[in-house]
């Protein structure tokens, strides 16, 4: 039995279809990523799976329990860290942790071994009010509270949004540690470069899933020739490249532009067509998750 099973789940808010017949399953012990921008339906999916909302249509189970019928059983088995900081700002670090432990009928001592790698980093500030913590420390406290009852499934809604690149990477290291302890983790992020830290990912956009697979297999499905191009004037290069025959798309990609070509694209012809552009270089390159996301969005 999978840790999470979702069949044709739909949820609308007024005229907005937040989730449109979504299906996926997450295996036990898997670190599964929902990758997509705002409005993809990620938070709605979390709120359905944590039984805070009921679906309009479809069904889902978490840890074998139905999200509608067995909602009480689910609540004691899952940990949930919502996108917005949702601890008590007027309680201290320690008081928040004790409070959540009491709610779930456990003690901090019982779960200390599980939360230690994370909680020990903020323990020196245990008497500080949660509202006075920095962003990164709040995040660690929220994760500690979400783990206090030793959940079998952990739901993390955009834990790294607005966090700098180094802290984000440290957070993913913590998740890798929790996965080692056998916890199933469903985590969402708008940062495409974090996809590689997951066992499998679902690319989500506007209530739909565009694709589900391992990060490696997702990029292998990119079936067009892809080039990295650069020149002195990158803006001119972008506009001119789009005019050349065989160029399906050209878009900025860090220090280069990525050029998606059709099968009749000819590098020699491209260089000739753009011979007025100074210091033009074009080299074949490997697609990334973001290239695939763009391709699937356009489809």
């Amino acid at each position: 039995m999978s840790a999470i099973e979702i069949h044709n789940l739909s949820k609308s808010f007024g005229k907005v279809k937040a989730l449109d017949s979504v299906s996926l399953s997450v295996e036990r012990g898997e670190l599964f990523g929902l990758i997509g921008p705002d409005g993809a339906g990620k938070s709605t999916l979390f709120r359905l799976l944590t039984t805070l909302l009921n679906p309009d249509d479809g069904s889902a189970s978490v840890d074998g329990y139905d999200i509608v019928k067995d909602y009480l059983s689910i609540r004691s088995r899952v940990g949930y860290m919502p996108g917005r900081f949702s601890l008590y700002p007027d309680l201290s670090v320690e008081e928040n942790l004790n409070f959540f432990a009491a709610l779930f009928g456990v003690t901090v001592e019982e779960s200390y071994d599980l939360i230690a790698p994370i909680y020990s980093q903020i323990e020196p500030f245990r008497t500080r009010r949660a509202g006075k913590l920095s962003g990164g420390m709040k995040q660690k406290l929220a994760l500690s509270c979400a783990l206090i009852h030793r959940p079998s499934v952990l739901f993390l809604d955009e834990p790294t949004t607005g966090v700098d690149a180094v802290s984000r990477s440290e957070f993913w290291d913590m998740l890798a540690g929790l996965k080692e302890r056998g916890i199933t983790i469903l985590v969402s992020t708008p940062y495409m470069d974090e996809a590689s830290r997951c066992d499998r990912i679902a690319l989500c956009n506007e209530g739909h899933i565009l694709g589900i697979d391992t990060p490696q297999n997702i990029v292998e499905k990119f079936d067009s020739p892809l080039y990295a191009v650069r020149a002195d004037n990158m803006f001119t290069l972008l506009e001119s490249s789009r005019e050349v025959q065989g160029v399906v798309e050209c878009y900025p990609f860090g220090e280069v532009h990525h050029l998606v070509a059709s099968n009749d694209f000819d590098v020699k012809h491209y260089k000739e067509a753009l011979n007025h552009i100074e210091n033009l270089t074009i080299t074949p390159t490997q697609p990334t998750i973001e290239d695939m996301f763009i391709k699937l969005m356009k489809r």
Binding site: G36, P37, D38, G39, S134, G135, G136, M137, T161, G162, V163, D164, A165, V166, S167, R168, S169, P190, Y191, M192, N205, M234, F235, L238, Y251, P252, F253, G254, E255, E290, F293, I294, M297, K298
Partner: protein
Amino acid sequence: MSDIVISVRELTKCFGDFAAVDHISFDVRRGEIFGFLGANGAGKTTAMRMLCGLSYPTSGSGTVAGFDITKEGEQIKRHIGYMSQRFSLYNDLTVWENINLFAGIYGLSKADTESRATELLERLNFTSERNTLVGSLPLGWKQKLSFAIATIHRPEVVFLDEPTGGVDPITRRQFWEMIYEAADGGTTIFVTTHYMDEAEYCSRVSIMVDGKVCALDTPARLKQQFAAESMDEVFRTLARGAQRGE
């Protein structure tokens, strides 16, 4: 008009005995896309607030769009543009109402508002959306409109605070093309981001660590200096050296 749009020297802001911004100095030239990076807690927001005239420095000096940041905060606020992902437009107002509101805040006359609004709507191909509620526009359109409104008073410099957070990859790129275009037209862009690929799009990038600017150059030269493949690597190298927490 001077070619230096932002100039700060030894700019410092202390809260008690904590130096959030610690003697930073740099210049930003007209038409540059200046990337302002730093780890969480490095002092970016505090520095931005001083540059936007929202708070005064403890010590140091500087000018933004020709005004003194130590005493002309009100003038600065009128002469810059500002856009962030968190606060942009009012969803419950129409396109036209939003334009009118912000034009009024920036002190444009009724006649100027009317002519610039018409010009703006034509340029964005939005004329038919004049009376549409902003909340019902697609995200990409909202962002374009938001940027156009942030520059409706034709500021010399526009501050973009994480303008693309949570935005899909296609819209994010459309937004950057708009920035390129504005910079090409002479508008100076001062931008913060957590997307390291976007740091590569900047003319020059500064990286703050522990309240200080510890690197400032073109992305190409920074990568050379730190023997790094990407700006992501440069950022990691510098941010890992940070002593103070967030």
